[in-house]
């Protein structure tokens, strides 16, 4: 029998595009300090430290060694984790797994990225097997698979380009309420629809930014959580699935809609959500969950993920946008934080989904708080094809 566990502290830095005056260690330290303050703990109370960041995106390797002063890992247990875009959620599920053993008191996880230190392209160049096949450097990014997915959503009339722009506006409204969001400018439908075309129909304002920032989370088993926290976010259940059953060309993003697994990452998102619903006895997620945080690498993905998470029927995403069902005042708010399209410090992004879901059930969201949120879900995905999902509740 595993221990019941809870998130007892979350700390985030500000997120921005350039932060030249701070070092990686200082930035991580800031997030850790805020998480400890939030949990009313000191670093002495932490038994293990887990670090997640995209290896080589800053041109560094073994950052966990360098970070020791910033994250307080000296003489503690822990490890370094990297699973692509889902790095942050892999750190979270590792935290949950460790906390559930009951072998630890409070444990700390960190996800961060400092993308102003180099070209993330540099790290992506070293993805396995690309050296043999990706000579045109086209498959490395997720662009082509995203474009194919978007075209397919238009073709099957799930959404229109205008609806996607409306959704982007909704995301920007949410980001304006989140002091930690990177892009905090209120957009208009015209601005989004007239922004630069990348690969038709993807436009630059549909896509996630390259951000700098860190997120930290503290998790504890029941006996510790109840002692230190008046409002722990109980982690009811969590799952990870690897959605890469048969990648035709490694990670190269060629899951197309017409293949049986659907577009890239969709299979993982769907399987992780369904598995979580089944294990938690959820039959109608739209009714039974109060707020959702999802890893939306583009606005198109957010709409596709709604269908994959069974918040609506297939091709029903456009209707949700029209009804503003996923807005802050809708019946199933998604990404009150502004999501990944507003903030994307890669190693932190997936952790922020989990952290923001926890913040919602702890009622610490400030302006971005969904009133009376009792149950929150977080779902993530990433280039390595791992998808993680977790369910948080206000009370056990």
């Amino acid at each position: 029998m595993s221990e019941r566990i809870a998130v007892v502290g979350v700390g985030q830095t500000e997120f921005k595009s350039r932060w030249l005056e701070i070092s990686q260690v200082e930035m991580v330290h800031l997030a850790v300090k805020r998480a400890l303050e939030n949990a009313h703990l000191t670093i002495k109370d932490i038994d293990a430290v887990f670090v997640g960041n995209m290896e080589l995106f800053e041109g560094n390797y073994q950052v966990d060694m360098w970070l020791t002063e910033g994250d307080g890992a000296y003489l503690k247990s822990g490890m370094k984790i990297q699973t692509g875009g889902s790095t942050g959620s892999s750190v979270c599920t590792t935290l949950f797994d460790h906390a559930a053993t009951g072998l630890f008191g409070a444990i700390l996880g960190i996800g961060y990225e400092k993308q102003d230190e180099g070209s993330s392209d540099f790290g992506l160049r070293l993805v396995s097997e690309d050296t043999f096949f990706d000579i045109a450097n086209g498959g490395r990014g997720a662009g082509p698979a995203m474009a194919a997915m978007a075209l397919d959503m238009l073709k099957r009339q799930s959404v229109t380009e205008e609806q996607i722009a409306q959704l982007r506006v909704q995301e920007s409204e949410n980001a304006c309420r989140n002091p930690h969001a990177h892009l905090r400018k209120r957009l208009t439908v015209e601005e989004v629809m007239n922004s630069r075309l990348l690969i038709p129909p993807l436009r630059i304002l549909h896509m996630c930014p390259a951000s700098v920032g860190a997120c930290a989370m503290i998790v504890a088993p029941e006996k510790v959580a109840k002692k230190i926290s008046p409002n722990p976010a109980w982690v009811v259940d969590w799952v990870t699935v690897h959605g890469g059953t048969l990648p035709p060309l490694g990670h190269m993003g060629v899951y197309m809609e017409e293949t049986e697994l659907g577009p890239q990452w969709a299979f993982g998102v769907e399987q992780a959500s369904l598995k979580l619903y089944k294990r938690c006895g959820i039959t109608n997620p739209r009714k039974e969950i109060d707020v959702i945080e999802v890893y939306n690498m583009s606005t198109w993905h957010e709409a596709e993920w709604w269908e994959r998470m069974h918040l609506c029927e297939k091709n029903g995403a456009g209707k949700l946008i029209k009804e503003r069902a996923t807005a802050m005042d809708g019946d199933i708010p998604v990404n009150p934080s502004g999501g990944v399209v507003s903030t994307n410090a890669i190693g932190a992004s997936a952790m922020q989904r989990f952290a923001e879901a926890a913040i919602q059930v702890r009622h610490e969201g400030g302006e971005r708080q969904v009133p009376n949120a009792k149950t929150a879900m977080a779902v993530t995905a990433g280039g390595d094809s791992y998808s993680a999902a977790a369910l948080f509740r206000k009370s056990l």
């Binding site: 050296t131 000579i135 194919a148 048969l246």
Partner: protein, 220 residues
Amino acid sequence: MKGKVVRPDWVKHTEMSLRGLEEGERKCKEISKPAYYGYAEASYALGREKFEGEMRLYQKALDAGYVIVDTVVHLPFRESAGHRLSRFFTTLRDETKILALKCPSCQRVIFPPRPVCGFCRITVGEKEEDWLALSDEGTVVSFQVASEREVDRVTGQLVGQPNPCGFIRLDGGDEWTILVHYLEMVDIEKLQRGMRAKAVWRPREERRGRMTDIAYFRLI
């Protein structure tokens, strides 16, 4: 204390390549129609603009007294292709044929040739009958274009290459047999999924058993 930004030599090289002297640009001219080339040039302008913005931010931080250290890593590797891909690449070189594997259990085509069928989890490629040749013609299912050339914000070097790139589903396989390669491109506004493309092979003496043995895919 004020620092001074000294542009390293490679920035000059970048500016040379921005004028189109590098091999990538030559290739872009060779395989693209002028309509696309104009688009590629616009992408350079964006890349250059972005880099200059980076340099201004860098200078600002230096002027404020912060120290920022340039680190450039050169990472040469030598990677083994393995049994199946070695056969794949030598056949590409010697016979201009694109090989794939067929799973004897589910009949899905495995491309590029991998040791295990991802669905059935059984070993493939050990028997002769597992192998088949795909056509060098196919359908474009997606594409990548350099709408903005990425410029390494540290060195000012251009990253990647300017050529359009296509995801080509080769005939003779199934939905999974997709190859990513350089694509002849006309005008991105006219790009469509479903266009047909055929491989243009390099002459025998230039083929080395690499994906570059195919020069690019021409639209047909």
